[in-house]
Amino acid sequence: MNESLLFLIPLLPLCCAVIIMVFGMRLPRLFAEVLAVTGVAGAFVLTVLFWGYSEGEGTRAVLFTWLNSGSVDISFALHFDRLAAPMTLMVTGVATLIHLYAVGYMHEEKDYARFFSLMNLFVFAMLAIVLADNLLVLFLGWEGVGLCSYGLIGFWYQKLENAKAGTKAFLVTRVGDVFLAIALLWLFAITGTLSISEINAQATSLSPGVVTVVSLLLLLGACGKSAQLPLMTWLADAMAGPTPVSALIHAATMVTAGVYLLCRLFPLVSLSVVAMTAITAIGALTAIYAATCALAQREIKRVLAYSTMSQVGYMFMAVGAGSVAGAMFHLLTHAFFKALLFMAAGCVIHLAGEENDIFKMGGLTRRGPVELFWVFLAGAVCLAGLPLTGGFFSKDGILLALFTHPDPVYRVFWLVGVVTALLTAFYTFRLVYLVFAGEYRGVGHPHVLPLLMRWPLWPLAFLGLLGGLLNLPAFVGGSETLHNWYDNLAGRTVTASHEVEWMLIVLAVAITAIGWFAAHWRYRIYRAPQENAISRFLLNGWYADALVDRLFVRPFAAMGRFCSSGCDRTLFDGTLNGLAKMATGWSALIAQMTTGRLTTYLSAFAWGFLILLGWFLLKLVSGGGH
């Protein structure tokens, strides 16, 4: 199969999205569902078939020229290489499972065509980011993903808060996109091209100052999409969307797009030490911030949302520490267990009668199928980082990379990482106990769980638990398959003496244990949550929303009022109306001259004669009539 068929991977979901959008409502519901799932599953199968093409430098496929004007010559091109292959596999795989789950979840929803077309469009946009050869196609995917998340968050648009949440998500990510666009323009101006591989090749020849600023811009762009510190307020509200959307977009794919961008441009970004420390710093700060917020959340999905933000913080720290392999490893394992947790949360909400608040749940092991508890526990265990689980190995790899980094400041980040791990373990088990332990505190009657909502959870559970095999560290006898798979793209190879590795593993196990026991002690017997300043502070995400609102939204609206009514109404229109009034004033004045009386007309005659005489005398006196 020649490489131009590579385009089928992103185009298949796109075609299905368009078909469902156009014919969705007219054809039976089953047709839309089947088409949606096959669209994504087909892409998954194609990725597996094309796996061989990703060896070595990977294959490049060009569809047609997109923009050709003067020095700009950009075309729709894909680059399927060793970095993109596993990512595509994960995206299409997880998406297939989520689509199956969504068929079950959205069973009663009437407006299914819009949902499935947007989901497929989202997968297309994500694949465009992953497989893009030049930055403009990546930007196309980047904004496409933002659009689909806007559409899907605000899916139940009848309630205005959902629509507002969607708009907020789109705007905040759009701010991030601006920084990415500036970096894109700058790179084009200095390198004359937007193709990623060429930029990476020319990276060494660029001046260090420029590289630092461009990398920082790329970082801010990535923060927008991956909900990192400065631009993270939208992720918590994004939970207004249906659960499959949260699972797909806000756990597995979109939030990791930022990490993938930094990995894709790693050769450029890694040249500037300042940028690398900045990436790690932002990762660490977001991790600790999100972890603390997760402690006090009342809704199950918001806990998971903050947890995602925290885990993506870990991935940023991995990239900052120079280990692309570590970041991608954690990205893949996180995608599996976080998608699992979100889908399980969906089932839990169904069981609790559409109730989101975990303090109104409890004792769900008995209300629904018992297997749901075990699957949820599997995900929780990976998230908390219990030994031998996928989450454990990937998180430990990152902490190792941070610990062994030559730069001493990374030790501080390592410490932050360890504290965050502790908090992660605590809020994970807090969630498990509150949801499953004790008596049912809610009022809702349980909805029956369709088979399709339970069946896809199992594969993700196994992948999460056995994820460690992907990149088993050497001292445990593993072959670090992922690291070797990336080889030249993998960044810094982490080498540490045995004592250090064992010390870190023991520390990690201890941390998880402490977290579990603390949660056990606190939440095993249910006690009503007491409201105090700290819990409200954490619940509102350190009042970040209020800060953004006062700093940006209100001044923007004030400027709007100033420009529109201030400038336009009073200043510009005011002057115009002033002129018009002056003109009519003069004309009324002059019109009064014609009083209608003959004497005035004759006196005007006389005045004219007097002016003539006066002028005439002036002429005589001055020039003697030259």
Binding site: T584, M593, L602, F605, G608, L612, K619, G625
Partner: protein
């Protein structure tokens, strides 16, 4: 007055003799239609004669020239008289005015205008001026029903009389200082003569300027215009607004063409007068609530622009002024023709309340009115734009940047009030009362006017070349 002179004077003679015979016949035979038809035929015949018959001698009794320029304007004024009679036909019948008197007066007026345009001698100029002014004294006040007409007549009469006084005294002073009345040398001596007599001559020209100022309603002397236009019946106002002003300007252009730039002393005064006229005319029209008064003040603005053209005193300036006069005559006659065609028993639609939404009762005529107003404003694709373009071009060529800017400002203001009238006519919600359907003669006049405005707007070349050949 040899036989050749008489032959050269043929069109004027036709007008005058026919006028007298119709007057006599009118005394016995009261039926208006044939008399008016006779008047129209005479006017057309006179125009034909002026066009066809090549005058053997170029000057008649030293008073009037019979050159191409004079013949052109004789044709124009005869056609105007014919159109005036066509408009007046229905008016005369309704108001039971003596048709004979009406027709003869109009014909005498036309003869006076033709003579004025071809005057080369101050006496001829004065006589011609008086002939048609006297005719208009009576015509303005002939509508016995409306008491405004008498008032308008009185105002025009008194102001005209004073102006005649000034004109006579002005000519006398020029004669005193130069010793001759024939235009070319009366003027040349003025520039060469020196000493105290020259001063009197200059004052004489000033006085003539005042009389002309009254006649073509320049700034300080324009106060009578609005009242007379409003009071007089529309057919007469049409003739007054176009004929009398056009003839005076034509006389000035003829004089300047023959004697070259004579006004170098008066330029500052004329500059001030032109600017004042344009601005006063434009601004006083802005808040008018009566269409005829609005058109009166707009004609004041147009006269200001004409004065700018005269001020240049270059051949380009004179050609531009002549073009402007012809276009102004056609457009402004058309506007009053529309009002005349709408007039019925209740009078004429003048105030803005009558006009509101009138466009939907009489779409075609209101469309023509809007087209003519836009031409008066100077919208491209209509003759008005070409006229203003040439005037501004000539003024810029001879360096009157200030006047051009004032002219531009005045035309912006004039666009404002012309367009508000256009909007008023086609105001969608009000349903206005319907007026007279208008006779076929009036429709013919309107058709001629509107097509002329469009023709000269899109293909001004025709008129430009004609004028180029006329001016010596």
């Amino acid at each position: 007055m040899s036989l050749l002179d008489l032959l050269a004077l043929l069109p004027i003679l036709i007008l005058v003799f026919a006028g007298t015979t119709i007057l006599m016949v009118g005394a016995w035979y009261k039926e208006p239609r044939p008399l008016i038809a006779g008047g129209i035929l005479t006017a057309l015949l006179a125009a034909l004669a002026a066009g066809m018959v090549e005058p053997p001698v170029s000057e008649i009794a030293g008073l009037f020239s019979a050159g191409a320029y004079a013949r052109f304007f004789t044709i124009l004024w005869s056609l105007l008289a014919a159109a005036g009679l066509m408009l007046g036909a229905r008016f005369v019948e309704d108001k039971k005015i003596g048709a004979g008197e009406y027709v003869s007066l109009v014909l005498y007026g036309a003869a006076g205008m033709a003579l004025l345009s071809s005057a080369t001698h101050l006496l001829g100029l004065f006589l011609a001026l008086e002939t048609f002014t006297l005719a208009f004294y009576i015509l303005i006040a002939c509508n016995r029903d409306c008491e405004f007409a008498a008032e308008a007549g009185l105002k025009y009469l008194l102001m005209g009389a004073v102006a005649t006084g000034f004109m006579a005294f002005g000519i006398a002073l020029i004669y005193a200082s130069t010793g001759s009345l024939a235009l070319p040398d009366a003027v040349t001596q003025l520039t060469t003569a020196s000493g105290e007599l020259h001063a009197w001559g200059l004052l004489g020209w000033g006085m003539i300027l005042i009389a002309v100022g009254f006649k073509i309603s320049l700034a300080p002397f324009h106060l009578w215009t609005a009242d007379v236009y409003q009071g007089a019946p529309s057919p007469i106002t049409a003739l007054l607004a176009t004929g009398s002003k056009g003839a005076v300007v034509a006389a000035l252009v003829g004089m300047l063409a023959v004697s070259g730039p004579i006004w170098h002393d008066l330029v500052e005064l004329l500059w001030l007068m032109a600017a004042l006229t344009m601005l006063v005319g434009a601004f006083s029209a802005l808040t008018q609530k009566n269409l005829k008064r609005l058109l009166a003040y707009s004609s004041v603005t147009h006269m200001g622009t004409l004065l700018v053209g005269l001020l240049c005193q270059t051949s380009a300036g004179l050609a531009a002024t002549t073009f402007y006069v012809v276009v102004y005559v056609v457009a402004s006659f058309g506007t009053f023709a529309v009002i005349a065609s709408l007039a019925d028993k209740r009078g004429e639609p003048m105030t803005f309340d009558d006009l509101r939404g009138l466009g939907y009762q009489h779409p075609v005529r209101c469309g023509v009115l809007v087209l003519l107003l836009l031409s008066l404003a100077g919208l491209p694709a209509t003759a008005g734009f070409m006229a203003k373009f040439t005037i501004f071009h000539a003024a810029l060529q001879s360096g009157y940047i200030g006047l051009v800017v004032i002219g531009v400002f005045a035309s912006v203001v004039s666009f404002a009030f012309y367009l508000s009238v256009a909007m008023l006519l086609f105001k969608p919600d009000e349903s206005a009362s319907s007026w007279h359907a208008g006779s076929s003669l009036e429709h013919a006049v309107l058709a001629v006017c509107s097509s002329a405005v469009l023709l000269f707007g899109l293909f001004p070349g025709i008129l430009f070349d004609l004028i180029g050949r006329l001016l010596p």
